[in-house]
Symmetry: C2
């Protein structure tokens, strides 16, 4: 069967939308990397304009007509075929976009840029009051967004569904409850032990060498610098301007060796996912990771399952020692390995260990639900944050800088759906790694000799290349034989830390 002309026209329209989205992504990237302070006001307007035009093009009734005309062609195709997937995902996006008025999208873009700008100054100044009115408006916008999708069970559901298609608040609450049940005894077992000495990581490590070592590591993992680059930002992230220009950012703390290194590996994990998507999907809605959770499964897999494993450091530690001979020359591998895997009750999510990390996520998820439900006022958020840290993690932030201001998410986007993906990703990362191990039991040995291609190519084959052509649950079931399952993840944590 030949490609129907409607599909050709649909693809041209989708490419135009993609071009504009990529332009907007570059404006965002520049805003957080190189833009001088004077540029902020105009950048907000520019992003608002692009957002409005993108939205207008997404909801162009011509797309609806093309999708209708393509229904019989779609039904004639195997559901797995790229065209069927493209039409299916485009229809899903179109039906979603149709519900959100263009004026709302423009308002949201402009507000988000302004809010990000205020936050980027408020966080170092420890000034929650500066962001308060912005955050209140963000909550209002988030509720209004959810209201465009009536019939939800929980007001967070439409927001969660945007990030993790098919997920709902009720499901996640259940998953998180099962996880918490398994985590609490593990955290208790670990934290009654004397604390691990991680002072080897707290020496002075000059930025340039840290940067170079991080680049060496992610190049070995398979991040392709000819199709990407790394820059500095306040909050590390991955973004892309095409499948062949996938960029990452990081930050460097010269007195904490783990901070930049693991964030670099984390973002490279995201980026390898995007770089690994089938080139045929370029310029279409399929050319993207399939969900927030699946994306995190890859960042967390490379950061933790690989990057904090013993075989990985059997290979890389001598190289790290050669980079920092004065600081690490006399530190044995085992001391270093224990230091980078130190479990402790701490304040900062992005620097938390694997075990307690999920407690940071679960409390944010709960706070998001409470804000959206209206049972928690934005004004009371800092205190609620401290309270949950005290009860869940046994520590409370001395200020908002390291408390409620620490993550960019609520200040650069909506409230709701922002955090659950991290823990869903942790859970999936172990399911996927276990499946790769079943196919290639020698992966740990390969990692120990600096070879990452078998694991990476397995991920490319089973996860990356599909882009959004398969949903997260499809990928999991095909690759591992099961849907989302907390138990392998708990088993991994108990094995490593119990």
């Amino acid at each position: 069967m030949h490609t129907p002309p409607q599909l050709t026209e649909l693809k041209a329209r989708l490419r135009e939308i993609d071009d504009l989205e990529m332009a907007a992504a570059l404006l965002n990237w520049d805003q957080t990397t190189y833009m001088p302070p004077g540029g902020a006001a105009a950048r907000g307007r520019q992003l608002a304009t692009l957002g409005r035009i993108i939205h207008e093009k997404r909801i162009d009734p011509a797309i609806g007509r093309l999708l209708d005309a393509l229904r019989s062609y779609e039904e004639s195709l195997p559901p797995d075929s790229p065209d069927a997937a493209l039409i299916r995902v485009t229809r899903r996006d179109y039906e979603r976009a149709m519900r959100v008025p263009a004026a709302f999208t423009a308002e949201l873009y402009e507000h988000t840029a302004a809010s990000y700008d205020v936050w980027s100054r408020a966080r170092p100044a420890n000034d929650f009051m500066a962001v308060l009115p912005y955050l209140e408006r963000t909550l209002d916008l988030s509720r209004r967004f959810a209201e465009f999708f009536p019939g939800y069970e929980h007001i967070a559901d439409p927001l969660i569904d945007m990030a993790d298609y098919g997920m709902r608040a009720a499901t996640i609450k259940q998953v998180f409850a099962e996880l918490r049940q398994g985590l609490i005894p593990l955290v208790e077992q670990i934290t009654v032990q004397p604390p691990v000495d991680d002072s080897c990581l707290r020496q002075f490590f000059p930025e340039a060498q840290q940067w170079a070592f991080g680049v060496e590591v992610i190049t070995a993992l398979g991040y392709d610098f000819s199709r990407g680059r790394q820059d500095k930002t306040l909050h590390p992230f991955m973004t892309k301007f095409s499948l062949n220009d996938v960029r990452i950012t990081t930050r460097v703390d010269e007195y904490d060796l783990g901070s930049a290194l693991f964030s670099t590996i984390h973002e490279a994990g995201h980026a390898m996912y995007e770089q690994g998507i089938a080139q045929a999907f370029e310029g279409t809605p399929l050319a993207s990771g399939t969900s927030a959770g699946m994306h995190e499964s890859q960042s967390r897999l490379w950061e933790n399952i690989v990057g904090r494993s013993l075989p990985f450091w059997e290979y890389f530690y001598p190289r790290l020692q050669a980079t920092f001979p004065d600081q690490l020359g006399n530190v044995p591998l085992e001391t270093f390995y224990r230091a980078i895997n130190k479990v402790q009750r701490s304040l900062i999510r992005t620097e938390a260990d694997e075990v307690t990390y999920n407690l940071h996520v679960i409390l944010r998820f709960d706070l998001e639900l409470a804000l959206l439900e209206g049972t928690l006022a934005v004004r009371d958020l800092p205190e609620a944050w401290r309270e949950r840290y005290r009860s869940d993690l046994g520590v409370a932030p001395p200020d908002d800088r390291d408390g409620v201001l620490q993550d960019v998410h609520w200040y650069g986007g909506l409230i709701g759906g922002a955090f659950q993906g991290y823990t869903l990703g942790n859970i999936m990362s172990v399911q996927l790694f276990d499946a790769a191990l079943r196919d290639h039991p020698d992966i740990p040995q390969q990692i120990g000799s600096g070879r990452f291609d078998t694991l990476r190519e397995w991920m490319r084959e089973h996860v990356y290349r599909h882009g959004r052509a398969l949903d997260a649950d499809d990928i999991l079931r095909r690759a591992t034989g099961r849907s989302l399952d907390v138990q392998p993840y708990l088993a991994y944590l108990w094995r490593k830390y119990g």
Copy 2:
């Protein structure tokens, strides 16, 4: 009289166009500064899409209707009022844009991105054959562009008019003839002398210190880094994403102290012009320098009349010596001053001295006319280039890298109108500087003590703030009492070099 609603609507439409143009400018900036090689193909498509949408919006018949409806309001205003200028310039742009089909603009954007990409690799490889087919297509596009404006006297006129409104090939030929007549005896007088020793500039000057010194200089001149930044590119340029985000780029040669320094001052001159435009014009077609020539008058004024003057270096030379004590500690100011003003028959336009610089420009202008007229084939351009260098400058490039491949203009834009602005700018720069001196005879003394505010504020008052509200000729006549006049420029050159 109240603002008519049509003007409010017009401004909203112009702002939208401006937002998209600024987004496209950022995509271009990124392409030449930070984009990894893999990004090139998609970037070309993205720029083509933005170019097409911008063009569609520029030629929206609604703009024509608004302009018609505003005619009586316009006639009721003093011609100098901002609204009158806005309507006048918008009408001029609209009538021009209406002549160029959207598909042509998209083709041009895409071709330009591809051509730039090829050139950026072909130049270091000295590979003219690689760019030949691109340049042939560029010439074809340039001719087709001119054909959209029938009734021209010379096929280059529509292209020249785009860059220097009101100028034509015939006028420029006349101006250049008068200039050449004055220049030739000066060049001959100088080049019979023994050559100046500029070896003090040819030592090793590490990039980081060169960069820092350049930043110190342009900060003192008045370039505002809180509304701009400087990055590295192959070919230095100025670009902007709003009046409060005006960026410059430079390149550094560690064995040529003058290269980065004077290009930095040159681009800062362009940028101060844009940073000095009235903020009320932001987001409108008035928020831009008024012509290529007027823009160059500012870059060349700061680079040459100020930056290569003795008072300037009486102030800065001790600072430069402190930055490079080993290299310059024993070099007297006079030796350095003579070195940076060395006149010689040379190959590279951007590094040419003030006197011979115009010969580089005039020959390019003549080659552009010949290409457009069809009397010179693109294939024969390298040889024609060598021939003209031999006859006009007495030197011939050993290869195309330092010959016909040296300037980005023809490889990143159209042929025609690309170069005359440099020499028009030189001429105007002296007219404007002389007028500033008449108002403030102590400017040279101020420069000698590191004060640039009187000169800069004079330029802001008489040139910068007007943006495109005044044409180049208006600015010249109001600020200096005369239209374009070669004689003050020749007098300046004879005074300084004769």
